[in-house]
Amino acid sequence: MATAIKNTAKAKTNPEKCKGCYYCIKACPKDAISIMDIVNKKGYSPTQVDEEKCIGCGACYTVCPDTVYTIE
């Protein structure tokens, strides 16, 4: 019986590095990324990841210019 391989990798953000370009929101295939209500030290509204929806595909990591994301 084949068992599905469970993907446990999730995207983690570093909100302090985020500059609010939101390329990741466009790239995310599962619409798991949204904008937070707070502003960071630089004055941008950073993103947050919904871990329930995240599949750890790495799209956000690939498009991010500011190395906000790690997949682990």
Binding site: N7, K17, K19, C21, Y23, K26, C64, P65, D66, T67
Partner: protein, 245 residues
């Protein structure tokens, strides 16, 4: 799957504008260097404009060349450090306008350097003036009514100019969407592999958004590349042959 940006490029926060493509390209270079085991060896020569902002945010040994002349300087660096990979990193205004002579003659001599040219269609750091790569009708600070090609000539296309030269590698990538970023990384890696084989002049041009100077939101600016800029500047590999050097 675990993905973490290489420490060589992510230890400090970059000072680029939100949505700037330089950050993505810098990460691609860091990843390629990590995969090839060359992080400690890479010597980079950057230009004076926006690309010089990398000096504080990547750990590669770097020379800042005179404006438009990183390729000529990189040629010299390579001549005395033959075992190290040497990268010339510059923008389109520097490579195609200020330093066109150096760019052309390095390609004609088939100098053994990797050249990465960031094409955003404007002079970025000085305030968005018209560059040779600005599209026909594009509004910039020095062409407020749109670029008039009857006065200023047609946009500069590096593939048309260098496509017939005897160089081993010429490719154009883009950082405007996910697929193109992954392909661009392959182009950069191939250029460095050829470079380490001493094959000659490898050029990768990368289309990059400049949201600040085009006055657009970052996502709209990268969509503009996919929809408008790529009609004229197609991405892909144009020269890929065995080098002679």
């Amino acid at each position: 799957m675990e993905l973490r940006a290489p420490e060589s490029i992510s230890f400090a926060q970059t000072s680029f504008c939100p949505g700037c493509g330089h950050g993505i390209v810098s990460r691609l270079i860091g990843e390629v260097m990590e995969e090839m085991g060359l992080t400690e060896k890479l010597l980079t020569v950057v230009d004076v404009a926006c690309s010089s902002l990398h000096i504080d945010t990547w750990k590669f040994d770097t020379v800042i060349a005179a404006h438009g002349r990183p390729i000529a300087t990189a040629t010299g660096v390579k001549k005395i450090r033959r075992e190290n990979p040497v990268l010339a990193y510059l923008g389109d205004g520097a490579a195609y306008s200020i330093g066109i002579a150096e760019t052309m003659h390095a390609a004609l001599r088939n100098d053994n350097v990797v050249t990465i040219i960031i094409n955003n269609g404007v002079f970025g750091m000085t305030g968005g003036q018209m560059a040779p790569t600005s599209l026909a009708g594009q509004k910039t600070t020095t062409s407020p009514k749109g670029r008039d090609v009857s006065k200023t000539g047609q946009p500069f296309d590096v593939v048309k100019v260098m496509g017939s030269l005897d160089i081993p590698y010429l490719a154009r990538g883009s950082v405007s969407n996910l697929g193109d970023i992954r392909r661009t990384k392959k182009y950069i890696k191939k250029a460095f592999e050829k470079h380490m084989n001493n094959e000659g002049f490898c050029l990768v041009e990368i289309l990059s958004p400049c949201p600040t100077n085009l006055g657009m939101a970052p996502v709209a600016c990268s969509e503009r590349i996919d929809g408008v800029v790529k009609e004229l500047f197609n991405t892909g590999e144009y020269i890929d042959k065995e080098g002679t050097k």
